[in-house]
Point group: C2
Chain length 181, copies 2
């Protein structure tokens, strides 16, 4: 599948979420070099929750690495379990919502020139709000927003929504919902 | 902008492309913890090249971190210069194309729970092919593809296009071109 070859591999940093390794590699052109790879320990799930009124539920997250607040789809690490189980949990924890209908919109990879960071996008419909969002403080979520699709598109276009994973998840959802031509 | 506080910060790994630091942090809820942050040294540019016949030009890249071939928009690091300068260079190197019309589609961030990885999306139109793509081998590009928009959307939906940065760039472009409702 790949013409790259790994000659040696050394873990240079790890914590509970990421492992960083430095590999000595032979490139596809035959040259030798060094490649630093960041592995995400837990495959991610990205949930696009769409209400019966065609609103999208987004969370506003205070992100430490960028020092910014970011408007995003509910998401999280899968802790090794099934993507749907992880998606249900993340949606409930971050928004308090349950969904009657789930649709798997497939696999994605983030920053694949540097990272091995797989994820899955899921579309959640038939939303119900049986309880409160219990995991917001822990997840760094400062607010939840329900926005009609046209407003979501405006927020993607005007640079309010900057999170690549969220924009990509919204694209997969928009295509699945027949909103893109 | 952020309620997180940095108590100490230590560089744990660096190479020409990334720097990894481990920070001792105080979380928004007041708890103390450790945060590993991956900084991308060069802000990225993501170019969506659209031909006069409404085809999108994509490159097929052999990605070492994921061990997969990936169909993506032309992209690269900005080497610190203006995003438009970087975008012109990456488009020419990866596809051999020049563009008469450029539109800045704004800032994006990748994997912002782990990385500080800013980028910009640019729409390139009025494409001309004065020469060959000279940088393909070096960039790991194995092929170039020109696909009509409906086929691009199919490839995003069917999981052929999995690169989150590319899917997000295509979403920004699709909105700018009035293709999403």
């Amino acid at each position: 599948m790949t013409a790259w070859q790994t000659r040696t591999s050394t873990t240079v940093y790890e914590n509970a979420w990421i492992r960083v390794r430095e590999d000595a590699v032979t490139r596809p052109d035959g040259g030798e070099g060094v490649y630093g790879v960041v592995e995400l320990r837990h495959p991610a799930v990205f949930v696009v929750p769409v209400t019966d009124d065609d609103e999208v539920v987004l969370v506003e997250v205070d992100r430490y690495p960028t020092g910014r607040r970011s408007l995003e789809v509910p998401a999280g690490g899968s802790d090794g379990e099934d993507a749907l189980v992880a998606a249900r949990r993340e949606l409930a924890e971050e928004t308090g919502l349950l969904a009657d209908t789930w649709q798997d919109l497939g696999e994605v990879f983030s920053l694949n020139g540097v990272c091995d960071a797989p994820g899955r996008v899921l579309l959640a419909r038939g939303l119900r709000a049986p309880g409160d969002a219990t995991g917001q403080a822990e997840e760094g979520i400062v607010a939840t927003h329900r926005l009609p699709w046209p407003v979501v598109l405006e927020r993607v276009a005007d640079g309010t929504i900057t999170d690549n994973e969220s924009i990509a998840a919204l694209m997969r959802a928009a295509i699945a919902l027949g909103r893109v031509r």
